[in-house]
Assembly symmetry: C2
Homo-oligomer: 232 residues x 2
DNA sequence: TTGCTACTGTTATAGTATTGGCAGCTGGTA
DNA sequence: TACCAGCTGCCAATACTATAACAGTAGCAA
């Protein structure tokens, strides 16, 4: 099915989904590659290449069927597969994530929260009781949960992750800031605020330097989530 | 100074900083490119190229001076420049970010929080009083604040951002999930959980598919924060 | 029904990022 | 002091991604 999929393309697919969702809500039936390209500031041939690459075809003179394409993308990304996840660490970030409405839409359901702070245990967060952390491995095994969202302090992240990996957790969505080292075949997705901040900081200093000196050429790498607007 | 800097390289620099910080804490004085490469699962020539690219030299037979390199990287990324930011939206995510300890280390200081929920106004978050949102533009102008962290609902993000841009905010760190459209020369850095989730979802389905069928080759694109471990 | 238009899908080209190889320098050692 | 080992730094080769050009097809109108 998906033999080779460019990493850059993979990052664009969710963007397509977002735009398509908007179009669908607006009642638009078809969309052309040029339209998608304009919306996401991409080249229109790139859009066509991406979509044909994941096996979706448009129709000449019409474009792509919005609803069909959206469904195809969601299917391709596996968003329909219901995924159950444990949320480890019920601090502010953990609670914020538990509240995040986008998860359910994307097939992710947080089935339990864990923490080792006695004050937090028993609290209700988003209709879920916070359970003691020590019970997580056993429950993961019993409920066959494969995904963990880590919102624990960086200092304990590695230790916690190892225990959970031992209990069969295969994918970690890691917000702790500590880069996890885990044995195969685990998937680790590090969400690193510090990294984003560093890049933002660099761009800011660039911007101010440019302001002061001359309007130099700035690369636009939209695939990383940052956008650049040159002067004038 | 920095004429051209590869986007991929830019994303690696914070990683170097992280590793170097660990090494410095461990008391290590020098580090070789091979060592850095091993730690971050990169090629060692790539590490050398990145570091020489930002104008830092190592010494043969010794490697790179950890402290000096760290300082150089931080300087290069402008982490020493003190940056003041407004946090817009004092919901759970906003409060979690206000609490995040990494910001100060990277030169970012949240000087004020804003919200338009009367219940939140006046609350203290991380030693900062939550102010009414309508005052943000005026204060931004008066205090010369250039950065805004947006943790408002997606539905109002565009509107809020436009008002703030009007008031002189140049950089938006956007957690709202809505892709902002702003005029030049604004910097927008979108932090999109939905996108991350979609990619994670895809990797998961790939993993399970691989599990079921055969150990296909999986690309490792470490620059996106996701790591892959192949079977065996 | 036939030709035209507008869009898609594919092939070719160029630019960029990563990998590999080699020369040169530097610190240790006998 | 002279040699050796190890690591850097540059240059070439390769792979990959994005842009450009072109051929093909389906709807629409006359």
């Amino acid at each position: 099915m998906s033999i080779t999929i460019s990493s850059a393309c993979l990052h664009r697919l969710p963007q397509y989904i977002k735009v398509l969702g908007r179009l669908l809500d607006a009642g638009q039936r078809n969309v052309t590659s040029a339209e998608l390209a304009r919306e996401l500031k991409l080249d229109e041939t790139l859009v066509r290449k991406d979509l044909s690459g994941i096996g979706f075809s448009g129709k000449p003179r019409v474009g792509f069927d919005v609803a069909l394409l959206l469904a195809h993308l969601e299917e391709y990304l596996g968003l329909h597969n219901s995924k159950e996840a444990f949320l480890i660490g019920a601090g502010r970030l953990g609670q914020a994530l538990a509240d995040y409405p986008g998860f359910e839409k994307y097939g992710l359901r947080i089935t339990a929260l864990f923490d080792n702070d006695p004050k937090k245990i028993g609290q209700l967060v988003h209709a879920c009781e916070v359970l003691p952390l020590v019970k997580a491995p056993e429950l993961a095994r019993r409920l066959n949960v494969r995904i963990a969202i880590l919102t624990v302090p960086a200092s304990v992240a590695q230790e916690v992750a190892e225990v959970l990996a031992e209990a069969g957790i295969l994918a970690f969505w890691n917000f702790s800031g500590h880069t996890l080292k885990l044995p195969a075949p685990t998937i680790v997705h590090n969400e690193d605020l510090a990294e984003s901040l560093a890049i933002l900081s660099h761009r800011l200093t660039q911007l101010f330097a440019v302001d002061a000196v001359e309007p130099a050429v700035l690369a636009n790498d939209s695939n990383t989530g940052t956008e650049y607007h040159e002067h004038k």
